[in-house]
């Protein structure tokens, strides 16, 4: 095909001053190759490093921009006229940004999405997503650390501990990540690269990503103080909302624990209690109110919890915890918070937790003293490792018999709530294998180490669950199955 090429003034130095040349070519790409062969220097003027048409140049085929045809692959016919048109632009405003961007592109190494995926596996490269929360929530690379550009410098040290780690920063299109990568370098991170083309290119290349569940605007406002803790954040709050915690007893320990767990947004709270509100409960059982005396504790607690946080679900079980119902009641919960005040119930709760391998957040109070620990078969000791046999009843009086300082179950119940939250979030060091004691009169906390009993009848390695027993008889104590401290 014989084609006429119109050469603009700025490029005529390449054609020895000729304003047009005739060449044989079947496509624009072939035409540029042929121009290069004949005259030299055209490719550098017309094409970028990747062989694409440069931004500053337009190529027209018979009055039509080839970008609106098939680009460089646009076919040419006989007697076609191809005009090379320099893009003419400028203006009074200074262009400091394009120069800054060019400088960044020179200084920050860029890496293609596919290579990011590969080095992540081979070198353990950390992927940092610097987009805004809204963009992140629309979809992100699984396992990427979300560090929005606006908080980058402030939060980097908390979330990126290793300054020698291989880090790839990405944004949506590959520009903000260059800026972020530069900031990280200034903070002392040695191996920072930017992902070329950003998440957009990652997605377009069909690489895997996840679209996370997100908090509603309402939840975002309610839990704002959690969201601003980097270790909790949105992912942590979603874990809390997904968590299912069963409170054994809505009394002295259960009241403060459930109240704060509800406030924190633990999504499903179960309450097992068969008792009714008594005037003598009100000195410490803060979920209940004077006008609810005589009403079931579960219902009273439900009202208070939902008044505080209507966004959670409160499931009430107005029944005695027993060998018959314990498996059914525990089945749909992840964590059991024991706020009972009697030994048959503690053994029953323990045994069922061992059976279902669930953490048993345990608290107890006596006058001015309290204890907290987490029994968790498989992770540490169970209650039976500590107390294979119950103490004689006369040495283990309930609150009703011994009395309790009203605030004390508040302290202990809230320690139980803290342990519960830590387990849900997988954060910190849980009180597994450790017993925390609190002496209110001395204002003293102590910690005792608890060990697994390798001979424990219920939780030793490889043991088959011995079954539930007659707990009343075991404790030799004629008492109700659940009575709350």
């Amino acid at each position: 095909m014989s084609v006429t090429v119109r050469i603009p003034t700025p490029l005529r130095s390449l054609t020895g001053g000729a304003d047009e040349v005739k060449l044989e070519a079947t496509s624009v790409r072939a035409l540029i190759d042929s121009l290069e062969d004949k005259h030299g220097g055209f490719k550098a003027q017309l094409l970028d490093g990747e062989g694409k048409l440069r931004r500053f140049v337009n190529v027209y085929l018979n009055d039509e921009d080839i970008r609106f045809r098939e680009g460089l692959d646009t076919a040419l016919g006989d007697n076609d006229v191809v005009a090379i048109i320099p893009a003419i632009a400028g203006g009074a405003g200074d262009a400091s940004w394009p120069r800054m961007l060019q400088k960044l592109k020179r200084e920050i190494a860029e890496v293609e999405p596919a290579d990011v995926l590969q080095t992540r596996e081979s070198e353990g490269t950390v992927i940092v997503d610097v987009r805004d929360t809204e963009e992140f929530n629309e979809g992100h690379i699984e396992g990427a650390i979300h560090l929005p550009r606006s908080f980058l410098e402030m939060r980097a040290e908390n979330l990126l501990k290793d300054r020698e780690a291989s880090i790839v920063v990405h944004c949506a299109g590959g520009v903000r990540s260059l800026l972020a990568a530069e900031s990280l370098r200034r903070l002392g991170y040695a191996r920072v690269r930017s992902m070329a083309g950003g998440f957009g290119r990652w997605k377009n290349q069909g690489l895997p990503f996840v679209k996370p569940r997100v908090l509603s605007g309402e939840d975002r406002r309610r839990y704002a103080r959690h969201l601003s803790i980097p270790e909790v954040g949105e992912a942590g709050q979603l874990k809390l909302l997904d968590a299912r915690v069963l409170m054994i007893g809505a009394g002295g320990l259960g009241s403060p624990a459930a109240y704060y767990l509800a406030a924190a947004g633990v999504g499903t709270l179960g309450l097992v209690d068969f008792d009714v509100v008594d005037e003598s409960n009100l000195q410490r059982q803060i979920l209940h109110t004077t006008d609810r005396v005589g009403k079931p504790k579960t219902e009273s607690a439900r009202q208070t919890l939902l008044a505080l946080n209507p966004g959670i679900e409160v499931k009430t079980f107005e029944e005695r915890l027993s060998s018959e119902n314990v498996e059914r009641l525990f089945r749909d919960f992840d964590i059991i918070v024991d706020g009972s005040d009697n030994f048959p119930t503690r053994y029953l709760v323990n045994d069922a937790c061992v059976l279902q391998k669930k953490p048993n957040v345990h608290g107890s109070v006596y006058r001015f003293e309290g204890q907290v620990t987490v029994f968790w078969a498989g992770q540490g000791p169970c209650y039976r490792c500590l107390y294979p046999e119950p103490p004689p009843p006369e040495l283990a009086p309930s609150c009703a018999e011994a009395g309790v300082l009203g605030i004390l179950p508040g302290v202990v119940g809230l320690l139980e709530a803290v342990e519960t939250i830590k387990i849900i979030l997988g954060m910190g060091i849980p009180l597994v294998g450790r017993l925390l004691t609190y002496d209110a009169l001395r204002a003293e906390f102590r910690e005792l180490k608890l060990r697994r009993d390798p001979q424990c009848r219920y939780c030793r390695d490889g043991v088959e669950f011995p079954g539930f027993i007659d707990y009343e008889q075991f404790c030799a104590r004629p008492t109700d199955a659940v009575r709350t401290s």
């Binding site: 500053f56 009055d63 048109i85």
Partner: protein, 143 residues
């Protein structure tokens, strides 16, 4: 001494009215004529559309379709596009960094300074591949 830009009164007044009409937006257009030893001789000008809609007050992007048409018309008359003019509303008639980023060699660049809606200066420049050098403008006195 570099090449001079011979504008002529008619071309000069076209550019002037274009720049004042589009103020406070930037205008741009093509100068058509002959490139001679020691001079660009402008025969006429063709106003073009400024396609920059983001920042039309201090940026321009000349519509390439206007370039194509002006180029064909010029060739038909045995002429050539010899240069570009554009205005700097409320800015001096000096090439900016943006102008430098986008510059092409061999073309005459005429920058028209407009202040409060009135053209008060124009200055010609030539890009040598690295920077702009000023060239003289004659044939079209501003006052």
């Amino acid at each position: 001494m570099g090449r001079a830009l011979h504008l002529g009164t008619e071309a000069g007044s076209s550019i002037r009215s274009h720049a004042e009409r589009d103020y406070p937006r930037e205008c741009c257009g093509l100068m058509v004529g002959r490139r001679q030893e020691g001079a660009w001789k402008v025969e006429y000008v063709r106003p073009a559309r400024n396609l920059n809609t983001d920042r039309p007050n201090d940026r321009y992007l000349l519509d390439p379709a206007d370039f194509v048409h002006a180029d064909r018309e010029a060739r038909g008359r045995g002429l050539d596009i010899v240069g570009i003019y554009h205005s700097h509303p409320d800015h001096p008639a000096r090439p900016s960094d943006t102008d430098l980023e986008n510059a092409w060699a061999a073309l005459a660049y005429l920058i028209v300074g407009v202040k409060d809606g009135r053209v008060h200066e124009w200055r010609a420049w030539e890009y040598d591949g690295e920077h702009f050098d000023e060239r003289s403008v004659d044939g079209a006195p501003l006052e």
